[in-house]
């Protein structure tokens, strides 16, 4: 039986190999990360001085909306998906995910959803209601243009991708673990992936409902959020943040998982308190559901509600703190090698501490009344999402790209990347604490000179461009190392987990022999579970499939109906989707 094509466009369009899909996610997310970063740089250039006039108010509002939306949905989440795809099957000793074609479908839906949303720039009507899209501003009366339609439909499409991937990875992790790989031997990255995917499959339906209401209000004249007709704009806020707060953990838990892999490897010590780190991750996942209204303390929900959400939010700080202590204890007594991956992992801890501590002042509603919707909050969540998630993802890149490509990234460029990013992010985001406390709200395209905040804003802008330089070093590094990087070998770092037992890059079937696992750190104990015994016969790898791509194409076609007002497109898109799924279902996959 022939293996799937290994080169050429067709091989990528039809691939069902988790590693290739991971690579597609990686480059797509990387491109969106650069786009979101460019948007950030324009924002910072505009704010470098008071009364800035680089872009118009309207353009600025589109830029900050798309910066947030892009970074959350098109850059960070898909970048974590790149790592889920690449690493989880290797860590659990599997030959692929459990539903390879569904996996391809997820990717194509994500790509098309991202393109659909960004196509709005082409007609000058990019979403402009903020990434949080509060009604009634985003309702038909106050946002009659197509901007919000692109946002609503784009998010709906992306939600399909996230849900499909969520179910896929849950089933994969629960069912495809190698013999002996019990749950309490599962590497922490795979554990955090599992928790994250449970959050995805429970949080995304909530925003789906919220978006359906908004779509109906905008398109069919329903009144879900219209107070004059008995609706309530605050309903949107509840639904959005019931999704939105778990979303924060969807973004941070994978990075915590990455760091929990990198720290032990480069300290030459097992993770301190594995059980507690795993359970605190699970606990954070659960508690993440009970804190959403801390985004709404200025709404006036009343003292009882405010007190409850304050207490719940403070409680979630405890398992988060425990993780930080366990990471530091992992370093303690180790033999620390400061590779670039390790620098980013340590940077993650250092920055995440700041983000966590500034978060405590938001957990206190009265204190938050002064800080919410100011640059203090912007500082806070960039320490969490940039200092945390992004630095964690960078650590993951330096750690695992050698596994993906077979070549190491340059440590020299990596060092430039780290220091520019680390210094740049502190220059950018640290002054924002003061900018906010001294009275600058978020989401304003200009500010008055009387506020006295020009100098600090200028420092912040300079910092943003330093981050830009750091990111340039990363781009050069990733591109350069593809051809010129030092060969990595199967295990360049001395890692403890299964992915390091196979060649880099791994063969299409990953493992010649599925390993049997007898400990939490299989490669640090005496055994070598995947000691390459000669494969008995060639491992069959299923051929690719066109149908995930075809099915995925149906969704943006359906969504186009709303922005073009052509009803026929709904039926066309639905036909394409159903046809794709039908052929997919009857495809003789194991021929």
């Amino acid at each position: 039986m022939s293996n799937p094509p290994s080169t050429g466009l067709r091989s990528w369009l039809t691939t069902t190999d988790h590693k290739r899909i991971g690579t597609l996610y990686f480059w797509t997310a990387f491109a969106f990360f650069l786009i979101g970063g460019l948007e950030a740089l324009i924002i910072r250039a505009q704010l470098a001085q008071p009364d800035g006039s680089l872009v118009s108010a309207d353009t600025y509002n589109q830029l900050f909306t798309m910066h947030g939306t892009t970074m959350v949905f098109l850059a960070l989440m898909p970048m974590t998906a790149a790592f889920f795809n690449w690493i989880v099957p290797l860590q659990i000793g599997a030959r692929d995910v459990v539903f390879p074609r569904l996996n391809a479908f997820s990717y194509w839906v994500f790509l098309l959803g991202g393109l659909f949303m960004n196509a709005s720039f082409l007609i000058g009507a990019a979403p402009d209601g903020g990434w949080f899209g509060y009604v009634n501003l985003t309702g038909p009366q106050y946002s009659p243009g197509l901007n919000i339609d692109f946002w609503v439909l784009g998010l709906q499409i992306l939600g399909v991708a996230s849900l499909a991937a969520g179910f896929n990875f849950i089933v994969t992790i629960l069912n495809l673990r190698a013999p002996g790989l019990t749950m309490m031997r599962l590497p922490v990255f795979s554990w955090m992936t599992l928790v994250t995917q449970f959050l995805v499959i429970t949080a995304f339906p909530v925003i789906t409902v919220a978006l359906v209401f908004l779509l109906f209000d905008r398109t069919f004249g329903t009144n879900f959020y219209v107070p004059a007709a008995g609706g309530d704009p605050v309903l949107w806020q509840h639904l959005f943040w019931i999704f939105g707060h778990p979303e924060v953990y969807i973004l941070i838990l994978p990075a915590m998982g990455i760091v929990s892999e990198v720290l032990p490897t480069f300290s030459r010590k097992p993770l301190f308190g594995y059980t507690v780190v795993v359970y605190s991750g699970v606990l954070i996942g659960f508690m993440g559901w009970g804190v959403w209204s801390h985004h709404m303390f200025s709404v006036g929900l009343g003292p009882i509600a405010d007190s409850f959400f304050a207490a719940a939010t403070m409680l979630i700080a405890i398992p988060t703190g425990v993780k930080i202590f366990n990471w530091i204890a992992t370093l303690w007594g180790g033999q620390i090698r400061f590779t670039t991956a390790m620098k980013f992992a340590v940077g993650f801890i250092a920055m995440f501490i700041i983000g966590g501590l500034s978060g405590v002042s938001h957990a206190s509603p009265p204190s938050d009344l002064q800080q919410t919707d100011t640059y203090y909050v912007v500082a806070h969540f960039h320490y969490v999402l940039f200092g945390g998630t992004v630095l964690g993802l960078f650590a993951g890149m330096y750690y695992w790209i050698p596994k993906m490509t077979g070549r190491l990234l340059s440590e020299r460029l990596g060092s430039w990347h780290f220091w520019l990013t680390f210094i740049g992010m502190n220059l950018t985001f640290f002054p924002m604490h003061f900018i906010g406390l001294l009275g600058m709200p978020r989401r304003i395209y200009t500010y008055a000179p009387e506020l006295g905040l020009g100098t600090m804003n200028l420092v912040s802008t300079i910092g943003a461009f330093v981050i830009g330089l750091g990111t340039l070093a990363l781009v050069i590094n990733v591109l350069w190392s593809r051809r010129h990087g030092e060969p990595a070998g199967p295990d360049p770092w001395g890692g403890a987990t299964l992915e390091w037992s196979i060649p880099s890059p791994p063969p299409p079937h990953n493992f010649d022999v599925i390993p049997t696992v007898t400990s939490r750190l299989p490669r640090w104990t005496t055994e070598h579970p995947a000691a390459p015994s000669a494969p008995g016969s060639a491992v069959h790898v299923p051929p690719g499939s066109w149908w995930p791509l075809v099915a995925a194409a149906g969704l943006p076609i359906m969504a186009s109906a709303v922005v073009t007002k052509l009803l026929a497109l709904v039926f066309l898109g639905a036909a394409v989707l159903v046809f794709g799924i039908y052929r997919w279902a009857y495809e003789p996959f194991e021929v």
């Binding site: 002064q370 978020r442 009387e450 360049p492």
Partner: protein, 346 residues
């Protein structure tokens, strides 16, 4: 294990250098800038003072934790960086007592934050105290309307209140969600369609305090600013007298007199109320009854002088993106006349 591929950098020294320079840098930045008129850290009311006190308490706890934890991290990465010929480190998997300890410690600290927090929540519900000055606040895209129901005054973008007397705000919106925020006097409170929200504060010093909308509300969200003028009792009483006196009447033949006439037959009356012009009864835009006495125009955006007022009336959207007041097709002399009339309405 292979590790020839990895390069060791002197990272810890560089980290400590940065840690040294960072506070220096921050203090430097703070020193360069001027005074902060919209600062949450310089409270001038009981309400803002309560929030500031709470925040400072949290800040010191956070700073303590920051120093301890970042300190532990720094010690770890300096002390335990690999040295040539280092042995395989001891393979520790955990320490139950230690882990219980660092679960309980943050929980205890949080108790010290939670108790004053809950007290402050119940002290900040915005319930009006007896004798408070009642003001109705209405958010509009993109300006603030202030009504004093007991005094029969309606004004815009400049809230006048007396010092040392409780002020009770009843807040709503005419359109989308906005958030009332004058940091030195009060924390934010959103105004939401279909709801009335409340805030109460007692200003403790006389002065002008800047504020602006803090909830993203569309194109000119950045331009939805306001001021609160806190005055002495007698100063406030004098302001109230001016607002409630008979409207000033321009001398016949003056430019202002002409302006009143132009105003009354122009599109102005489609949106604005002005008590000197009987036909100007509309309540869509700001009430212009004593507009000549205001410090600013256009949602606190520009000084209320001849040049800005003239440009504003001629073409508001050019000065404030998305402004709902359209470009006016007025002859130059009519424009001058209207400006003169509005300036006379003090």
């Amino acid at each position: 294990m292979r590790d020839s591929a990895t390069v060791i950098f002197e990272a810890p020294d560089a980290v400590s250098r940065l840690r040294y320079w960072l506070p220096v840098l921050v203090l430097g930045i703070l020193a360069c800038a001027g005074d902060y008129q919209q600062s949450t850290l310089h409270p001038a009311s009981d309400f803002a003072g309560r929030l500031d006190h709470l925040f400072r308490g949290i800040f010191w706890w956070a700073l303590g934790v920051f120093v301890l934890v970042e300190g532990a991290l720094l010690v770890a990465i300096i002390r335990f960086r690999r040295r040539p010929g280092g042995d395989q480190p001891r393979q520790v998997h955990g320490h139950t007592a230690l882990e219980i300890g660092w679960t309980i410690a943050p929980a205890l600290i949080l108790v010290f934050i939670a108790v004053p927090t809950i007290r402050a929540i119940f002290a900040s519900t915005g319930a009006a105290t007896p004798g408070a000055l009642r003001v109705e606040v209405v958010g509009h895209q993109w300006w603030w309307e202030f009504r004093y129901p007991e005094l029969g005054i309606t004004t815009a973008n400049e809230l006048h209140v007396p010092v040392s007397r409780p002020v009770a705000l009843e807040m709503q919106t005419a359109d989308v969600i906005h958030s009332f925020w004058v940091p030195r006097l009060a924390g934010k409170r959103d105004v939401i369609a279909g709801r009335v929200n409340r805030l109460a504060f007692t200003a403790d010093s006389v002065g002008t305090f800047l504020g602006q909308c803090a909830e993203y509300c569309g194109e000119s969200h950045a331009n939805m600013r306001m001021r609160v003028m806190v005055d002495t009792d007698s100063g406030f009483a004098a302001w109230v007298d001016r607002q409630t006196a008979e409207p000033p009447s321009p001398d016949s033949g003056s430019l202002a007199f002409q302006g009143r006439d132009v105003f009354g037959r122009s599109a102005c009356i489609g949106c604005h109320m002005l008590d000197g012009v009987p036909v100007a009864r509309a309540q869509v835009g700001p009430n212009l009854s004593r507009v000549g006495g205001r410090a600013t125009i256009a949602g606190g955006l520009f000084p209320n002088d001849t040049e800005h007022l003239r440009r504003w009336i001629a073409n508001a959207p050019a000065m404030k993106p998305g402004a709902l007041m359209p470009q006016m097709d007025l002859a130059a002399e009519d424009l001058d006349a209207i400006v003169a009339y509005l300036q006379s309405m003090k």
